[in-house]
């Protein structure tokens, strides 16, 4: 039966092939939506894996989270260094990393921070940052590049760069009188860290002309490296305290501040984006359906030409049930072949676009075997193909019953 179905399909290979391609592309799309969602969420979660709280000036939690860690969007306000120091010196705080944002190097974000960043920032499975070349900066006018930034800027240790104000690619106010030396390059992390340029907090103020004098640096413990920062990452000694601390910071009296728990805020973000995901899913389901209806069309259209074929099969003793089975088998073969082609297509695309996506967005699309959710989607496609095939199969069944052996062609 399978052999007969295959030969019959081969006989109509052009239209069958086109149908297979249509379904395969639609299946690839369906799987891609799921896969992009998974990878983006995984990637975002990886990026904040070690941080318990993020604090910053009063703003929406999503804005603060996206700007501080993912370098998406910008912060309009700053928080004072005094508030940062007060909060970070609290006994519940294990470590804290101040971050100042808003500048760029040829469109890549500049993260002004201190050595705490290198020591305490964690990504993915609680991994710490590593340098492939050089050291973390220990003075102003030094920069450490993320792996991707180093590649895109074409800079290595010993090279110099200049910082532009603002985050656009082209800025009219490049601070050219303040060349900064590259002293280190970070290992690849698959997070937005890869795109960033890291400098000391004091460096930013210098290039902005706030502290002209470089001589009394930040080596005094009580000296402020800067007046204000964009945000701070906090690590707590006791994680369950996060909720209480968040409430306290949100009601901080000296200054309006926002505190957020990254994991929770991401969850809320995904929830708000859920509607778009649903829309994309809906569209890809429709595309799959269109592909399957294409298959239904060629099967139905072929029935008329195949009345003879059915009569011949009846003559050699095939029952109408066999005819029914033959049509279902053909549809199943088409759907299964198309679905596996779609899966292959997905992997091919992912493999081909992996580098581009990583360098553009910092999201690393790792290749992994299909997840349960993806198997489900593929299974549902095959089921839908099977259900739709019942239509031509039923018609062929009726037709072979009424035609019997006497077809007038």
């Amino acid at each position: 039966m399978l052999k007969l179905a295959l030969k019959s399909l081969n006989n109509r290979r052009v239209s069958v092939l086109l149908t297979v391609i249509a379904i395969a592309v639609s299946v690839a799309l369906l799987l891609a939506v799921e896969r992009v969602k998974q990878q983006v969420q995984q990637n975002f979660a990886n990026t904040v894996s070690g941080t318990d709280l993020i604090i910053g000036p009063r703003s929406s939690q999503t804005q603060l989270l996206l700007a501080s860690v993912f370098h998406i969007g910008s912060m309009t306000n700053t928080m004072s260094w005094d508030s940062y120091e007060q909060i970070s010196s609290r006994s519940e705080i294990d470590w804290s990393v101040p971050i100042s944002l808003g500048d760029s190097v040829q469109g890549l974000p500049v993260v002004a921070t201190n050595e705490q960043y290198f020591q305490h920032y964690r990504y993915a499975d609680k991994q710490s940052l590593e340098l492939t070349h050089g050291n973390w900066f220990d003075a102003s006018k030094q920069a450490v590049l993320g792996a991707e930034a180093s590649e895109q800027l074409g800079l290595a240790i010993g090279d110099q760069l200049t910082i532009a104000h603002g985050s656009g690619g082209l800025s009219f106010s490049e601070h050219e009188q303040h060349p900064i030396n590259v002293v280190g390059v970070l290992a690849r992390t698959g997070t937005p860290v890869d795109q960033a340029v890291f400098v000391d907090l004091t460096t930013i103020d210098q290039v902005h002309g706030l502290t002209e004098d470089d001589s009394h640096g930040h080596d005094h413990a009580h000296n402020h490296p800067t007046e204000s920062i964009s945000a701070a990452l906090l690590g707590l000694k006791v994680k369950p305290l996060a909720l209480r601390l968040q409430r306290e910071i949100n009601t901080y009296e000296q200054e309006p501040l926002t505190a957020l728990m990254p994991g929770l805020t991401l969850q809320q973000l995904w929830k708000t984006l859920n509607i778009f995901e649903q829309a994309l899913n809906g569209i890809s389901v429709l595309v799959v359906l269109i592909g399957l209806i294409g298959m239904l069309t060629i099967l139905l259209a072929s029935l008329r030409e195949r009345r003879r074929e059915m009569a011949v099969l009846r003559a050699v003793g095939a029952g109408p049930g066999t005819i029914f089975g033959l049509l279902v088998t053909e549809a199943l073969v088409v759907t299964i072949v198309a679905t596996s082609t779609g899966l292959t297509l997905l992997y091919g695309l992912q493999w081909a676009l992996m580098d581009v996506i990583h360098s553009r967005s910092g999201i690393l699309f790792s290749l992994y075997p299909p997840t349960v959710a993806e198997w489900w989607r593929m299974g549902l496609v095959v089921c839908a193909g099977f259900l739709l095939s019942l239509v031509p199969a039923w018609r062929a069944y009726r037709q072979s019953l009424s035609d019997g052996l006497t077809v007038k062609v």
Partner: protein, 234 residues
């Protein structure tokens, strides 16, 4: 001699029309070759579809080799046809995307009974039959669609006879052939049938073929019905 086909008190009418067939009694002995002649539209095809078990009569009994077809379910009749009946159409007998040999093998595909009756492998039997019917080894491997009409009918004959069915039903198989090929085809068909002791029921409107057969029957002799179709086609 045992009877191959026995019809008793049979009437059949298509929905909404007067009886197409009305046969009081008709029988064919086993091993006989019968030419059944009737004008087009006289109910020949209807009779054949009853014998093949595709349709069932409203009244009467159809016995093939002592099996009463009316006692069988549709599925059992399909199986009976696969096991005991070879069938040749007027034309378009073959699945165009299968080779000649594969088309012949269809004859035993749905019947364990006929597979068991083969003395050698099915493929060997098929090539053997096709050789005897005059198809070269190369032609046997060609897709059926590329064969001439004459060759296609010979492939159909091989398929109908492989596995030695007890009854061969041929529905005007020579109407698309010219006189020379027609005579040659009938000779080969009857030779192979005789070798298998297969009863042949050959339906045609061409009375000139009668000398090849043991018996010549006019459908109007056995069936009293005067179908409308005949008037329409006249």
């Amino acid at each position: 001699m045992a009877t191959a086909v026995e019809l008793t008190g049979l009437t059949f009418s298509w929905p909404g029309s007067s009886p197409t067939l009305d046969i009081n009694h008709w029988q064919v002995a086993q091993g006989e070759s019968v030419l059944l002649r009737g004008a087009s539209g006289s109910g020949k095809s209807t009779l054949l579809s009853l014998l093949a078990g595709i349709n069932t009569p409203q009244k009467g009994v159809i016995k093939l080799f002592e099996t009463d077809l009316s006692q069988l379910s549709a599925r059992q009749r399909d199986k009976f046809r696969a096991d005991h009946i070879g069938y040749i159409f007027q034309q378009f007998n073959l699945l165009p995307y299968l080779t000649a040999v594969e088309n012949v093998l269809l004859g035993v595909k749905f019947s364990k009974h006929r597979q068991r009756k083969l003395s050698q492998s099915a493929t060997n039997t098929a090539t053997d039959y096709l050789l005897r019917l005059g198809l070269t080894a190369a032609q046997q491997q060609q897709p059926a669609a590329q064969l001439s009409v004459g060759q296609q009918q010979r492939v159909a004959a091989a398929r109908a006879l492989i596995g030695g069915p007890e009854l061969l039903i041929a529905d005007e198989p020579t109407s698309a052939l010219d006189a020379d090929r027609r005579d040659n085809f009938i000779k080969l068909l009857l030779e192979l049938s005789a070798a298998n002791n297969t009863t042949v029921l050959f339906v045609t409107h061409d009375v000139a073929l009668a000398p090849y057969f043991n018996t010549h029957v006019e459908l109007t002799e056995i069936s009293r019905a005067m179908p409308d179709a005949e008037l329409n086609n006249a």
